[in-house]
């Protein structure tokens, strides 16, 4: 398996440049700029939030609120200088992260809800990809998703940000508010936990 080059590759760098301009164009209320932001980030944000909150409707709500907050901040609260220098991706993910935590906190007060919930729901997003892959690949992904659900929240979040969203450590640090050096260790441990969870699944299969 070759290492994916998108973290440092030209493609992402180019995207980053156009995204930097995006915050400023939303600030200037350029037609279509906000739609471009939504089009670009809705899927990655949903993918992230969906693994932080208990249900898909909750995730959809959080993603929507994230964009509402972002729009308000960019158009009404931030100066154009601040928009110019804003690192859009970690900023958006951080809003989504905070809103997800609020969501879970609110839900905990109302009903006792167990965090990793039924697998069926969690696997639903895989239906979209399933068309493109073989049965084995699909089973492999389901296995991985189940193992992810078994991880503690903090670890699961890091796996999403680092291995699905493919953020750099600096971006993860900006998203979660943790130090870069500490994150290296935490990502490594999250990965170990993921491998353990996968191994446990296999044991269960074997029995």
């Amino acid at each position: 398996m070759t290492a994916r080059s998108s973290l440092t590759g030209g493609e992402t760098l180019a995207a980053q440049v156009s995204l930097d301009g995006l915050a400023a164009s939303i600030h200037a209320r350029t037609a279509g700029a906000f739609e471009r932001l939504v089009g670009y980030f809705e899927k990655p944000l949903f993918n992230y939030v969906q693994r932080l909150v208990p249900s898909l409707p909750d995730a959809q709500e959080v993603v929507q609120d994230t964009f509402l907050r972002a729009h308000k901040a960019l158009t009404r609260q931030y100066s154009s200088d601040r928009c110019q220098s804003l690192a859009l991706r970690p900023w958006l993910f951080r809003i989504a992260r905070n809103l997800s935590h609020n969501k879970r906190r609110g839900l905990r007060h109302r009903v006792e809800c167990q965090m990793p919930d039924d697998h069926e729901q969690r696997l639903a997003p895989l239906d979209g990809v399933a068309v493109l892959c073989t049965v084995e690949q699909r089973q492999e992904l389901e296995r991985l998703e189940r193992a992810m659900a078994a991880l503690p929240l903090a670890s699961r979040e890091l796996v999403v940000l680092r291995f699905i969203e493919e953020m750099s450590y600096a971006e993860i640090a900006a998203t979660t508010g943790q130090g870069e050096a500490a994150l290296r260790g935490k990502v490594f441990r999250a990965l170990q936990q993921l491998r353990d969870a996968l191994a446990r699944q296999e044991d269960r299969h074997a029995m």
Binding site: M1, R4, G39, E42, Q60, L68, E140, L144, I164, R184
Partner: protein, 298 residues
């Protein structure tokens, strides 16, 4: 390099984020250390498979966001009036004469009041038709307006206004009673004054109990003109005002608002003024079933 520091660098070796000297050191370590090489293979396996977990969206929130964040605007002419019109896909949200506000203050205040920014768009024909009909004095039976952004009481008042039949006038106290808050007359006055969709929601059909025609977003002259187009007998209204009469009676049994439809076709000489609810009660008159004038609180 020790295993510990090598393991923490494997991930960045994978993505090429590691500085070349460091990367070289890690690679050398991997050649010697089976344990770390195994960890590296496992890491790459998971990292290679993980992006597959990026599922499709069940549904996009883009449309809902557009609904929550933006209204549309257009400029139109109706019966000689030049208007800024704001609307959502649910209906009209604001009608403002261009003579009253510049576009900047119209859009700024719209954003402040509704929390939505304005984007230029073509006014849908059914909405334009409503504005034209209202300006022509034809009345709008079911106004297509989106008042979801207003406080509940103001919304209730505007709903009540839409129930006043064309060609008739009511007092603020009547609207307050019909809206379920009989003492909130002043608040009704404020709500009417702030009516975001004049013409279409007929705030012009409410006049002060003290007489006169009252103010209007397009000026009192325009208010008179629209009422005349709607068929209100303003001559009678003025005549009664001079005699300080709120109501009238024709048969000494019922009393009505002077513009009540039950009086259509009745000659002006048969109409007898009734000063207020107190006089009506003193004369033993009953409130008309059609226009439901106010009654003296017993």
């Amino acid at each position: 390099m020790r295993c510990e520091s090598a393991l923490l660098r494997l991930d960045e070796l994978r993505t090429g984020e590691l500085a070349s000297a460091e990367a070289e050191a890690v690679r050398r370590h991997l050649e010697d250390c089976h344990h770390c090489a195994g960890a590296n293979r496992a890491l790459r396996e998971v990292a290679g498979a993980a992006p597959g977990l990026l599922g499709e969206l069940p549904s996009s929130c883009a449309d809902e966001l557009a609904r929550r964040l933006f209204d549309h605007w257009s400029r139109m002419r109706a019966e000689g009036l030049d208007l800024w019109v704001a609307f959502s896909e649910r209906g009209l949200t604001e009608i403002v004469p261009t003579s009253a506000k510049s576009f900047e203050s119209f859009s700024w205040e719209h954003a402040r009041r509704t929390g939505k920014e304005l984007r230029e768009d073509e006014l849908p024909a059914p909405l334009a038709e409503q504005v034209e009909q209202a300006a022509a004095g034809l009345g709008v039976a079911a106004p297509a307006v989106d008042l979801s952004w207003l406080p509940p009481f103001e919304r209730q008042v505007l709903r009540t206004l839409s129930e006043i039949p064309g060609g008739e006038l009511r007092s603020y106290a009547w609207v307050a009673r019909e809206a379920g808050r009989p003492t909130a007359v002043r608040a009704v006055g404020n709500a009417c004054a702030r009516n975001p969709v004049p013409l279409v929601v007929p705030c012009h059909r409410v006049v002060p109990a003290a007489g006169g025609i009252g103010g209007y977003a397009f000026g009192s002259e325009m208010k008179r003109e629209i009422l005349e187009r709607e068929g209100v007998d303003l001559g009678l209204v003025d005549q009664l005002e001079r005699r300080h009469a709120k109501y009238v009676t024709v048969d000494d049994h019922w009393y009505c608002f002077p513009t009540c439809r039950s009086l259509r076709g009745v000659g002006r000489d048969q109409i007898e003024p009734v000063r207020d609810e107190r006089e009506a009660a003193a004369r033993g008159l009953q409130p008309c079933d059609e226009c439901r004038p106010l009654e003296l609180a017993s």
